[in-house]
């Protein structure tokens, strides 16, 4: 991997290598070196977040306009933000609800918009034709009407069975409904299996990245 600028300085490479080995030492057993580097990592990440929030957000978006450009209405934002901290006072904690309530209102309004844009196209797309004509085949796809039809049938079958599984409003005594729900649960298990497999692949990728760093950047083996 080309990490020339990130790991160009030998001190950075050595610190990265020692940190990597220290964190991997947990595989052998719990130890103090691991704990030390775990705390260093978390502390660095938290400190970096504070620094970047100031340099990228609060500094240019709030401090500069307020104190250098004289845009005084930005002071109201600070007052509003400080209302959150009144939660620590029994006498004034009611004031924090103003800030919390306002933000909840914003979030609820956004949720309306995002829910509609998020799910409606998917619901619309779930109405798939089971009878496929040659005109429906995407050009250059190499698919057949039978293939698309079977694919759509499988999609609808899985969707209906999974939805049946989530009918919790009544007891699933009917044999057809119960069988459909059981099939739906089985289909969900397949999906969870795929997610588990993907998770394993992700973890392997992270391991490989670190091993490559040790081999390539630190030991110069490759």
């Amino acid at each position: 991997m080309d990490t020339a600028s990130t790991w160009s300085h030998p001190i950075g490479v050595w610190f990265g290598a020692i940190g990597t080995l220290a964190l991997f030492s947990l595989i052998y057993r719990e130890n103090r070196v691991y704990r030390l580097f775990e705390h260093i990592f978390i502390g660095l990440a938290a400190g970096y977040l504070i620094k970047t929030t100031w340099t990228e957000v609060l500094g240019p978006q709030w401090f500069t306009p307020l104190f250098r450009d004289g845009q005084w209405p930005w002071a109201l934002v600070a007052g509003f933000g400080l209302l959150f901290y009144t939660i620590f006072s029994k006498k004034h904690s009611w004031m924090s609800r103003i800030a919390i309530g306002t933000l909840m209102g914003f979030a609820a309004g956004q949720a309306f918009q995002t829910t509609a844009s998020d799910y409606i196209p998917q619901i619309r797309r779930s109405f798939k034709p089971l009878y496929v004509t040659p005109e429906m085949i995407p050009t250059g796809s190499g698919l057949t009407t039978l293939g698309i039809g079977l694919n759509n049938l499988l999609f609808v079958f899985i969707m209906v069975t999974v939805l049946t599984y989530f009918f919790f409003s009544f007891e699933q005594k009917n044999k057809v409904v119960a069988a459909s729900a059981r099939t739906g649960r089985l289909m969900l298990m397949f999906a969870f299996g795929a997610i588990f497999g993907s998770t394993v692949m992700a973890r392997m990728a992270l391991l490989i990245d670190r091993v490559w760093f040790l081999m390539h950047n630190w030991l110069h083996l490759q």
């Binding site: 080309d2 970047t52 990228e56 957000v57 240019p60 998020d118 998917q122 797309r125 392997m204 490759q222």
Partner: protein, 278 residues
């Protein structure tokens, strides 16, 4: 005396970790050319960049940190490489994780040196924003007004040639997000409906399965499935870099896990059988 179980159930876990490490090291040292089928979603991501007009800006959004750079970094790298090969101008923006903006900046600088990309003319860094929903809503209306300055020189965006002709998200050709988080919902919910720009997503492998419904509905144009997606993209670019090399140990490690799961299950089965016989 209690049954100690089948020997397969008593293997010290350190041997298993050792075997995994050995597989990874061998896979990285000895490049075994395993076949890699390029998925339709990676092809669509590639085609979105390949067909992007040269006079329009591509927005590259990042939300990843050191903890997921094993997957997100190669993804970002191959797409930046593709953009620069085609000489398409692009803007970086980072959300959620503060490390993201620095890591993406470093990566872009590395590639910019190789492809002679000039900051401000060919690419720009729009910086880091904590509030994704508010920022995206602002960008739908006016990018310059919402973000105001770049993060490198702190100069107004309108002063940069790279931002010429860009007012809001409608003026973008592609939005590519590289993420270790689920903020695709914000993009889909707040931006995708407001622009004709192709929205492409590069998540970690953990998140990728949940995105297929979005690919099916067309809300997400293309996707890179973790490191595998990056390797596929590299193949489409006609290059053999780190991801092509890394995909071999990934495959070998997964085979090892299959074998170990099989052996573990056989060990449990054999132990129960032994208990039944005793």
């Amino acid at each position: 005396m209690s049954n100690p179980g089948h020997p397969l159930t008593r293997i010290n876990r350190h041997w298993l970790y050792g075997a995994l490490l050995a597989i990874v090291v061998i896979g990285l040292i000895v490049p075994i050319p395993l076949p890699l089928a390029v998925s339709p979603e990676a092809t669509r991501f590639y085609e979105a960049i390949e067909s992007a007009p040269k006079d329009k800006l591509v927005l590259v959004s990042t939300l990843w940190s050191a903890s997921t750079q094993g997957e997100n970094r190669p993804q970002t790298q191959v797409v930046l490489k593709h953009l620069m090969k085609r000489h398409i101008r692009f803007a970086l923006i980072a959300f959620g994780d503060a490390q993201s903006t620095t890591l993406a900046q470093e990566l872009a600088e590395e590639q910019a040196r190789i492809y002679k990309y000039e900051y401000g003319k060919d690419w720009i860094n729009l910086g880091f924003r904590q509030d994704i929903a508010g920022t995206l809503k602002g960008m739908v209306r006016d990018i310059n007004e919402t973000l105001k300055t770049d993060s490198v020189n702190r100069r107004p965006l309108a002063e940069y040639p790279v931002m010429a002709g860009v007012r809001n998200v409608k003026d973008l050709s592609v939005i590519a997000e590289f993420s270790a988080s689920g903020n695709y919902k914000s993009w889909v919910g707040l931006v995708v409906g407001s622009t004709n720009a192709a929205f492409c997503y590069a998540p970690t492998s953990v998140m990728a399965p949940e995105l297929y419904t979005y690919l099916d509905s067309g809300q997400i144009r293309g996707m890179l499935f973790g490191i595998k997606g990056a390797a596929e993209y590299e193949q489409l670019l006609g290059e053999k870099g780190f991801t092509t090399r890394a995909i071999t140990p990934v495959s070998l490690a997964l085979v090892l896990l299959f074998v170990l799961i099989g052996l573990g299950n056989y060990g449990m089965y054999a132990t129960k059988k032994m208990e039944g016989n005793s």
